[in-house]
């Protein structure tokens, strides 16, 4: 029983961190331009 008291909170905490990360990425606009992100990764940094 006692191991559950440790493990279940850890599981849920990990899930919650994932959820928080998703919310953060949503808020910081990472889903605004999915097609553009795919192209930008191939672009050189501006050489000018």
């Amino acid at each position: 029983m006692s191991y559950l008291v440790v493990l279940i909170p850890i599981t849920i905490l990990m899930g919650a961190i994932g959820l928080a990360a998703f919310f953060w990425s949503l808020r910081s606009g990472q889903y605004e331009d999915l097609n553009g992100a795919a192209e930008r990764v191939l672009m050189d940094e501006d050489s000018e």
Binding site: M1, L4, I8, T11, I12, G15, A16, G18, L19, F22, F23, L26, E32, D33, L34, N35, G36, E39, R40, L42, M43, D46, E48
Partner: protein, 758 residues
């Protein structure tokens, strides 16, 4: 040609350099970010790849005053932040045109982010997180946890369910509450009751240390329903943003000449009757006005459906939306923006709102039948069990099981998933659908009404007799035509396939207003233009000449006659034949002259046509048809069609239509090919069949499971499995639409250079 090479760069460049007041318009539509920074959003429809992103951003960052530029490839927009100085706004559009990208200002009022979608996705994420974790705990309870662990697991589940019930459920409670307040019931009412009751009872059971709790059922119900809701929203939003990415046709302001001669660019709403405004060639008239200076030709095709260009001299009345073709005009405004022709059309449209307002979506009709049945069955099983056993707890448990099992999980997914897949298929064929109910309405259509100019015809004049003109004569004409912006000249220039460097060099060129182009080369005088003028007769009245022919002469001697006509749209004849084969009645309603309409009607093979129709006449005609029980599909593009588009049961417009027409239409097709009408009809019919199949699946599932639930044998495990299974089945069935049909579809034509969504 690579995708980054816009086909229309040349013509656009010329347009952009001519448009006066554009820089003021940039300032007018920009948003103040504070600190002297302003933000402008430009729509650049031809961005397609990484190289386009780089070239657009590089071009904009070079402009003085621009702080940052960021392209969004998905929405094909670029957001530019620029520093406001006392001078005019940076000429972003001209800079982009220089880099070969056509762009237009994006209205400031349109928000690029969609708060409703973000809310739905957040709710979906919370519901997904909670339901998955609860499911994991439930699995251990089902596989036989001891009593102490079960109690702990139920407590944790309750804690996990709370955010899903409170946060994700809000969307349903709000909708259910607003329906109940208006004395109606919708699908969200049984959902809300089921979810809330199941949660409350589960909490009670947890503290009673009962063997079962329903946390998993109530949260996964929310999760599945939110998927359907989000898909539905996503589809509508995508279509809307794709439509607004197309070029705006009405200007947001006009250049006005003040009494002291100063020119000022002011917003459309500030224009008062009596003001004098300048309309450059290639611009549309912003408000109704009378020409007070200048001489030009007006293209009224989008306004009245007339294909013939109207000459404009001092005293001519020009309606808002008419395009000025040849020379700059000074107009005296006769009406304010809200009283002009455009606003008149809007009022007619509002009055015309016909079939659509009365139409109830299939899902709503289904739920209005379904939710009373669900309530009745749940209430009956509650009282039935109470009467039979007298056990309150058992009766409520069974009633909740019935509510959850019958909850229209599959039903809620059945319609949106099919519509999303159908909308995707339409997107691939270059057709955008505004909202799901349009697909249902299109499937019902039994008559089609076409507008002529710009719909059955391409609306762009073309040179038809290139073959009969000697090459060297054509070269001279093209060399002259290239320098003029008149549509006939553009048509002649576009008819030339050869190398621009091989064209003869002209010594001098002069454009004679309303008549044509005069050039001198090696001592000879060449004239390209109206037949009477070019062949040396004294300048004729420009109104008498026809647009359909243009003459090239040397020193008054005719060298060649160029025949120019408005060509039929590609696939027009095939489409009419295909529609007729489907058994639809087909008609043409046009604002053009009888001769022009009957010619086109004979060419595409339509027997019923009505020329000289006024906008209100079109609406009356459609109303009369609908009153006799017909469901009309209206296909049109002009301002004069807009009221008819909103009066019809369902409507379609080409991407070249005026914005007001595009907004009124349910479908917008991007390709030039009229085949899109048949393709859309085909997909909507198949979508309708799939939706009915999905209803049968979802209801069939309920018919099997509900008796089991009423008998009291549905455990949470069984409810969860059955619910997921039916949803998966419905989704899998909908995906069948994603595959091309075995027959009856046309291969999609390659995309045009611009405006194609991906």
């Amino acid at each position: 040609m690579s995708c980054c090479e816009p086909a229309n760069a040349r013509s656009f460049l010329e347009n952009a350099s001519e448009v006066s007041g554009l820089r003021e318009e940039i300032r007018l539509t920009s948003r103040d970010l504070g600190d002297g920074l302003r933000q402008t959003v430009l729509s650049v429809p031809d961005i397609h790849c990484g190289a386009c992103i780089a070239s657009v951003e590089r071009a904009l960052k070079k402009v003085e005053g621009v702080e940052s530029a960021r392209v969004n490839l998905s929405t094909k927009r670029v957001t530019v932040n620029w520093r406001d100085s006392d001078g005019p706004a940076p000429d972003l559009i001209a800079e982009l045109a220089g880099a070969g990208h056509a762009s237009h200002l994006f209205a400031a009022a349109q928000e690029s982010r969609d708060p409703a979608l973000t809310g739905l996705i957040k709710a979906l994420a919370v519901a997904g997180f909670c339901s998955m974790n609860i499911m994991m705990l439930s699995l251990s309870v089902w596989s036989g946890a001891d009593e102490q662990a079960r109690y702990a697991f139920h407590l944790v589940s309750a804690a996990l369910a709370l955010p899903a019930i409170l946060y994700s459920g809000r969307i349903f409670y709000a909708s259910a509450w607003s329906a109940l307040r208006h004395g109606r019931s919708n699908m969200d009412v049984p959902i809300s009751i089921g979810v809330l009751l199941a949660f409350a009872l589960s909490v009670y059971d947890t503290f009673q240390n009962a063997p079962h709790a329903y946390f998993d059922a109530s949260t996964s119900l929310l999760f599945f329903l939110l998927i359907g809701r989000t898909l539905d929203h996503l589809m509508r939003q995508r279509a809307r943003s794709a439509v607004s990415a197309l070029a705006r046709l009405s200007p947001s302001g006009a250049t006005v000449i003040a009494d002291n001669g100063a020119k000022d660019y002011i917003a459309l709403s500030d224009i008062r009757p009596g003001m004098r405004m300048i309309v450059a060639a290639g611009e549309r008239v912003p408000v109704d006005g009378i020409v007070s200076d200048g001489r030009s030709e007006l293209d009224c095709a989008l306004v009245s459906g007339e294909s013939q260009w109207k000459p404009a001299t001092v005293g001519t009345l020009a309606q808002a939306g008419v395009m000025n073709l040849a020379n700059p005009l000074v107009l005296t405004a006769t009406a304010r923006a809200e009283d002009s022709f455009l606003a008149e059309m809007v009022r007619l449209m509002e009055a015309a709102e016909g079939g659509r307002a009365r139409y109830r979506r299939l899902a709503d009709r289904a739920s209005s039948l379904y939710s009373p049945v669900v309530h009745a069955v749940a209430a009956l099983s509650l009282f039935g069990w109470l009467y039979a056993t007298g056990d309150w707890h058992l009766s409520i448990t069974i009633a909740i099981a019935v509510l959850i099992v019958t909850c229209p999980c599959a039903l809620g997914l059945a319609v949106p998933i099919v519509q999303v897949v159908a909308a995707r298929r339409l997107f691939e064929s270059g057709i955008m659908v505004k909202d799901g109910s349009a697909l249902e309405r299109l499937a019902e259509a039994d008559s089609v009404i076409f507008d002529k100019t710009g719909t059955l015809t391409s609306g762009k004049p073309r040179l038809v007799n290139t073959d009969t003109i000697p090459a060297e004569v054509l070269a001279i004409a093209v060399a002259m035509a290239r320098l003029s912006r008149h549509p006939v000249s553009s048509a002649i220039a576009a008819g030339y396939q050869g190398d621009a460097a091989a064209l003869p060099v002209l010594d001098s060129v002069e454009e004679i207003h309303g008549l044509g182009v005069e050039a001198r080369m090696k001592g000879d005088v060449y004239r390209l233009g109206r037949p009477a003028w070019a062949s040396g007769e004294k300048a004729a009245d420009p109104g008498a000449a026809s647009m359909s022919s243009s003459v090239l002469s040397r020193n008054g001697e005719v060298l060649a006659t160029f025949l120019i006509t408005d060509r039929l749209r590609d696939g027009a004849r095939d489409t009419v034949a295909a529609l007729r084969q489907r058994g639809l009645a087909i008609e043409i309603l046009s604002g053009d002259a009888p001769a022009a309409v009957s010619g086109v009607a004979a060419e595409v093979g339509i027997d019923d046509f009505a020329p000289d129709m006024l906008p209100a006449g079109k609406v009356d005609h459609i109303r009369a048809l609908q009153a006799s029980g017909r469901k009309v599909l209206m296909v049109g593009d002009g301002l004069n069609d807009a009221p008819a588009l909103s009066a019809a049961h369902v409507s379609m417009a080409p991407a070249t239509a005026v914005d007001i027409g595009r907004n009124a239409a349910d479908f917008v097709f991007l390709h030039d090919n009229l085949r899109a009408v048949d393709t859309a009809l085909n997909i909507s019919l198949r979508a309708g069949a799939l939706i009915r199949q999905n209803f049968v699946l979802a209801i069939g599932y309920n018919v099997i499971v509900v008796p089991v639930a009423i008998a009291g044998h549905v455990t949470p495990l069984l409810a969860a499995i059955a619910m997921s299974m039916s949803s998966v089945l419905v989704v899998a069935n909908a995906l069948r639409l994603g595959r091309p049909a075995k027959r009856g579809t046309v291969p999609a034509r390659p995309a045009p250079a611009s405006g194609e969504p991906r």
